[in-house]
């Protein structure tokens, strides 16, 4: 069982959360001129790494706010959580 650190509420049980996929995918701005390939890349293509993954979580049964987490997709260990817009912890250390 995970204990997940919500950046607003603190440590809570994983059943309160939903993982909602890869983080840091920016919506293209100039959508009028976007090619089909670029749309497909934004909508569907995912990096799906084996190892460090930056992903969005929703504290669905808590504050109902989104935040980001860094987690290893093999060990499932969460190395840090951070609010939307903040620098990922692993980069902040550098």
């Amino acid at each position: 069982m995970f204990l997940i650190e919500c950046p607003w509420c603190g440590e809570r049980d994983e059943t309160e959360f939903n993982c909602v996929g890869e983080a840091h995918i920016a919506r293209p701005l100039d959508t009028e001129k976007l090619s089909d390939e670029a749309w497909a890349d934004y909508l569907f293509m995912r990096s799906n790494p084996k190892g460090l993954h930056r992903e969005q979580w929703l504290h669905a049964a808590g504050c109902r706010r989104y935040f980001n987490a860094e987690r290893d997709t093999v060990s499932y260990r969460i190395s840090g959580t951070y609010r939307i817009g903040e620098t990922p912890p692993s980069e902040a250390k550098k």
Binding site: M1, F2, E14, T15, N18, C19, V20, G21, E22, D36, E37, W39, A40, D41, L43, F44, M45, R46, S47, N48, P49, K50, H53, E55, R71, T73, V74, S75, Y76
Partner: protein, 416 residues
């Protein structure tokens, strides 16, 4: 390699069954093959088998990083059915079903395919409308199936709870009589033996670490057992397809999730069919040795760890206990997870890639076992000719660019 028959059984009985030969060789990899299949699961081995049998390509190898059938082929709940909604998927899964029906004879290996029928339960009015629509679509595609009432379900499965006072009452089901189960390990072993007999090299403990390319075409792979050259490479690695795609330099519309299953202690025969429920999320059958085989849902997070969360198991077991109150005190024996490669439209990706000579067969997500023979059949055609088979043309990677998605989230039987 000896043919299995009543005579070989008798002959070996004389020597107390101690002199059966190995079912396949363990050759050293050659420096070059006509084609390589990466991934020695059911789909990869089926591809190799049909490449050798239907397309005469025998100078090929299957590369498996662990042991054959040790991934999702050995981890699924063995359900076989073909009652998919859309024409594209219905045709593909029905091709597979037809191959299943003759598979043991074709392979000369008993895959224990048992057409004991599959029920997909409906728990509310919309479920029943969807079931009716799907059954009608199936029948138009020549796939057997009919809608059954709660009373008919109760007659066939006396242990099921059809009480109207349930939180999620059972209002009916679709029933596909030709659906059923097969022995998953035997499927991998049968295809491996069949391919090996025709000259295919099955190389285990051989992990691919890089894909070599020249001028936009594949030339071979780097592996933990050296470089192997080939002009055609078929990748059939399920949960790891994004990792292989990254080696080749492109991305896939796929996320890998843990999917769990569990079995109970063996009990006397009590369920002689397969029962699946989309709404409450649980599916159950009974294996020949008596364990109740139960499938859970996927975890919401990405994972390559071959294990999932306990709350997911708890959720499924709660659903099973509501459908079958009699199982409340059955103890569970083992629980495990596999890595499933889910796509945005719950349909596989089979076909060519941006790299010449590199073909992918992946994205089967939570329901690939039933498709094993059909998937191998169409993918063998794709690898041999370089062009998709009529049955897998619609499942090309570029459907995510064209927008031609095949939305099977509903008819995938259980919602993942």
């Amino acid at each position: 390699m000896s043919k299995y028959s009543i005579f070989s059984l008798l002959r070996n009985a004389v020597s107390y069954h101690e002199n059966w030969g190995a079912a396949w060789r363990s050759p050293e990899p050659k420096a070059e093959y006509d084609a390589l299949i990466i991934g020695g699961g059911g789909h990869g081995l089926a591809t190799a088998y049909y490449l050798a049998k239907e397309h005469g390509m025998t100078n090929i190898a299957v590369l498996e990083k662990g042991w054959i059938g040790g991934g999702n082929t050995g981890r699924n709940t063995t359900i076989v059915r073909s009652n998919y909604l859309w024409d594209e998927s219905a045709h593909l899964y029905e091709k597979s079903m037809k191959l299943w029906e003759g598979l043991s004879q074709d392979l000369n290996y008993n895959v224990m395919f048992s057409q004991r029928g599959v029920y997909n339960l409906g728990h509310n009015l919309q479920d029943m409308r969807d079931i009716q629509r799907r059954v009608n679509a199936n029948r138009l595609n020549g796939i057997d199936g009919h809608v059954v009432t709660p009373e008919e379900i109760k007659r066939a499965i006396p242990e099921i709870n059809i009480d109207e006072g349930c939180r999620y009452p059972i209002l009916g089901a679709s029933f596909q009589p030709r659906g059923g189960v097969a022995r998953h390990d035997a499927v991998a072993w049968g295809f491996a033996r069949g391919a090996d007999m025709r000259g295919v090299d099955i190389i285990q403990n051989c992990e691919v670490t890089a894909i070599r390319q020249e001028n936009g075409a594949v030339t071979g792979v780097e592996t933990t057992r050296g470089t192997i050259n080939a002009k055609k490479i078929g990748v059939v690695v399920a949960g790891h397809c994004s990792v292989l795609a990254q080696m080749a330099g492109f991305r896939m519309p796929i996320e890998s999730h843990p999917l769990q299953a569990l079995v109970s202690e063996p009990i006397k025969p009590i369920i002689n069919t397969v029962i699946m429920s989309n709404a409450v999320h649980g599916y159950i059958s009974q294996s020949d040795k008596g364990d109740l085989v139960i499938g859970a849902g996927i975890d919401s997070y990405n994972g390559y760890g071959q294990r999932g969360s306990f709350p997911t198991i708890e959720h499924t077991v709660a659903a099973i206990c509501e459908m079958f109150p009699i199982f409340r005190r059955v103890r569970m024996n083992r629980q495990w997870g596999g890595i499933v490669d889910t796509t945005p439209d719950a349909c596989p990706i089979i076909g060519n890639t941006p790299v010449k000579g590199l073909y992918f067969n992946c994205g089967w997500g939570t329901g690939g076992f039933k498709a094993t023979p059909g998937s191998g059949w169409v993918f063998a055609h794709n690898v041999a000719t370089g062009e998709p088979h009529e049955l897998n043309r619609a499942f090309a990677l570029d459907r995510f660019v064209s927008g031609f998605l095949i939305d099977e989230h509903g008819a995938a039987g259980v919602a993942h």
